[in-house]
Amino acid sequence: MRSTPVRFGLFAVGAAVVALLPLFVSEFRAFELARVGIYVIALLGLSVLTGYAGQISLGHGAFMAVGAYTTAILTTRYGIRDLWTIPLAGLLTGLVGFLFGFPALRLVGAYLALATFALAVAVPSLAKYGRIEEYTGGGGGLLLNLPATPFGLPLSASDWLYYLCWGLAGLLFVAAWLLVRGRIGRALRAIRENELAAVSSGISLPAFKTFAFGVSAFYGGVAGSLYAITINYVNPDTFPVGLSILLLTGVVVGGLGSLAGVVFGALFIQYLPLYASDLLDWPLSRLGLKIDTSAPGAPAVVYGLILLAVLLLGSSGAAGSLARGTRALTNSLARRP
């Protein structure tokens, strides 16, 4: 069923498209697509945790916030080049996620979802608290330098951000794939399907769950770091609770338990909220209906409706549809003499 050459082929085509795309799109699109790359990274991490290990996280915005603040503080306070802060932000956030994994061990299902949700609510506000504020700038936030192309590379700033985000996304995609395809991935899936059965076959729940939280937070931290670099600013408003929900939406739309699906999930959460009202404008004006789609709340309603439609039509997400397509392609290749 699972044909590795076809998957490699698809990955190679995808990588080529990503590499060449900036030649054909405007700088503004490159900037927008850089954020899609950031979402891909965050969703990869969430996919490992929620899709593979079955641990629901409604708090990934908090991990992004930790990564973003790490980069912001290191660049503005200590003058470290933003590029070098990315791995540090990832590692620090990974450590935070790993530690959060311990209390999370005691929680399952909806309880875990709520605990992580609390993280999403609390962490950004921590930036305004007492002594921490001296580092984070409180509500006023921290202003970073405008993103600029380093090392004299012949790229515009937007194209540089695009390649930076998508380069790391590609790297981390391969890393996640290597992680979940083997023994660890099997263990995580076993935990997702039945914890009791997993334990009785010798899988250590504490080890694998905290590991999954750590890896997932590492990805979130890297994404947050890139987020801070591209918007050249962080403050608590930058990480609203809605961001965490958006990320979970992305993983579900992309397809739980699929790494390739996160690209679709990332495109979905970047573009649908931005263009929801435009999307509705077109059919409405065709039907001759005069409804103000820019009215307060209207885009949110459109977004909700489209999200519902997507979830109903493709119950296993974009990845499900992709898998069906891949299977058809593999079968037709196999039929050839």
């Binding site: 700088e27 900037f31 927008e32 509500g139 936030g141 405008l146 515009s156 918007i231 408003d237």
Partner: protein, 413 residues
């Protein structure tokens, strides 16, 4: 950059050829981004939804006024400004700076706007300021009173604010107390962030530090300010200065009333609007909780009987009823939006028949306007030395559900 200039130049050239009949007119004209013979496209980001959406009427007010300008005939007998329709693109950033950044880039790089006008919020506008200055796109009349918009003009010459800055407003209260009530014992409750501290930076030196007997901060996220108000009451102060955003301020006024504390009240203008003070009255169950509140004003108050027969207020109500039916004319934020839109229209006229981004900016930092939207006697004036367009205010007192201006015009800068 070069890659984008070629198609851009082609589009501009094509637009010029198509829109201007006769080869002569088309030969030497080079129009600025967002400007054609028939339109000027500008844009701004506002919290239309989300936690700060109570400010959305500002964008609506601006939109209404531009619709009116586009429909009426101006002093040159043409509709719009010099025959150009104003296209105002509004995007909802939900007060999230991450959204503001990408939407502002969308306005500049994709929608190719001429300038950004009225962008709302100190935090959302902060990260786009370096970008707009790097791109040399005017960031005009931002909807925030933080002092930095005028004070940091050297570093960010393409940016300018509009309303009186918070430091100046704080200074106005301080001066007033020092002059009229030299033996005052003042208690201060402030929102513990850049916004609250900005006010205090003006208030404290003006009132004289000796008059402040107690000073307590509160977090904007705190559910209650009861303990802070109790602490301030215990200081024995006879004057109470509240600097906050509406929710905390309403709580503070109600709590002081419930604790039986009746000091002289001073409230910063952001929270001392008719709507918020009415809410405080309702919550306390008595007008006593807000009677005598002193604040500052610079715009005519559409809810005040004083301006019931004012021509501009009448125009305002007519336009709102026509272009935004259902909108509450007593909500001063619509008025604020229209007044700001009018300042932009006047600026655009002053930028000349063929405006460029440079000429627009130049007009914005060299304004001298007698705006009919402002309290009589106050003016809109800016210069490179003092880039604070509105820096004159008047004190006003809230009694039995209405504001009454008193005292002379105060020049805050």
């Amino acid at each position: 950059m070069r890659r984008k200039l070629i198609p851009l130049a082609a589009v501009v050239a094509a637009a010029v050829l198509v829109t201007i009949p006769g080869a002569f007119a088309g030969s030497a004209r080079r129009e600025a981004p967002g400007v054609t013979a028939r339109s000027v496209t500008i844009g701004g980001t506002f919290p239309i939804s989300g936690p700060a959406s109570l400010y959305a009427p500002i964008a609506k007010g601006m939109q209404v006024y531009f619709s009116y300008i586009n429909a009426r005939r101006g002093p040159d007998r043409k509709r719009g400004v010099y025959g150009r329709q104003i296209v105002f693109k509004i995007y909802d950033d939900q007060y999230n700076p991450a959204q503001t950044v990408q939407l502002t880039r969308r306005l500049v790089e994709q929608d190719k706007v001429f300038a950004l006008v009225g962008g709302l919020g100190t935090e959302p506008q902060t990260p786009v300021r370096p970008y707009l200055n790097q791109q040399k796109v005017p960031q005009l009349y931002v909807s925030t009173g933080a002092t930095t918009w005028g004070a940091d003009r050297k570093q960010y010459p393409w940016t300018i604010g509009w309303q009186p800055d918070y430091q100046s407003e704080g200074r106005a209260y301080g001066d007033f107390i020092r002059r009229t009530d030299p033996s005052a014992k003042v208690a201060v409750l402030f929102q513990n962030d850049d916004y609250g501290k900005d006010y205090l930076a003006g208030f404290k030196p003006a009132v004289g530090a000796g008059r402040i007997v107690a000073e307590v901060g509160y977090e904007v996220t705190a559910p209650s300010v009861t303990s802070q108000v109790a602490q301030l009451k215990a200081s024995g102060a006879d004057s109470f200065f509240v600097v906050g955003t509406p929710r905390g301020t309403i709580q503070a006024l109600v709590t002081a009333y419930r604790l039986g504390w009746r000091p002289k009240l001073y409230v910063n203008s952001v929270s001392a609007t008719d709507a918020f003070l009415t809410q405080a009255t309702a919550a306390a169950g008595s007008r006593e909780a807000v009677n005598g509140v002193v604040t500052t004003a610079y715009l005519k108050d559409p809810a005040s009987p004083k301006y019931a027969n004012d021509k501009t207020v009448a125009t305002y109500k007519r336009l709102l009823a026509k272009y935004a039916p259902g909108a509450d004319p007593n909500n001063g934020l619509y008025f604020y939006g229209m007044a700001k839109a009018d300042t932009f229209v006047q600026t655009l006229y002053r930028a000349g028949r063929n405006p460029t981004r440079e000429s627009l900016l130049n007009a914005a930092v060299n304004l001298k306007l007698k705006s009919p939207w402002l309290i009589p006697g106050t003016t809109i004036e800016s210069s490179a030395k003092s880039p604070f367009p509105i820096s004159t205010v008047k004190l006003t007192r809230y009694t039995n559900g209405a504001f009454t201006e008193f005292g002379g015009i105060i020049k805050t800068r």
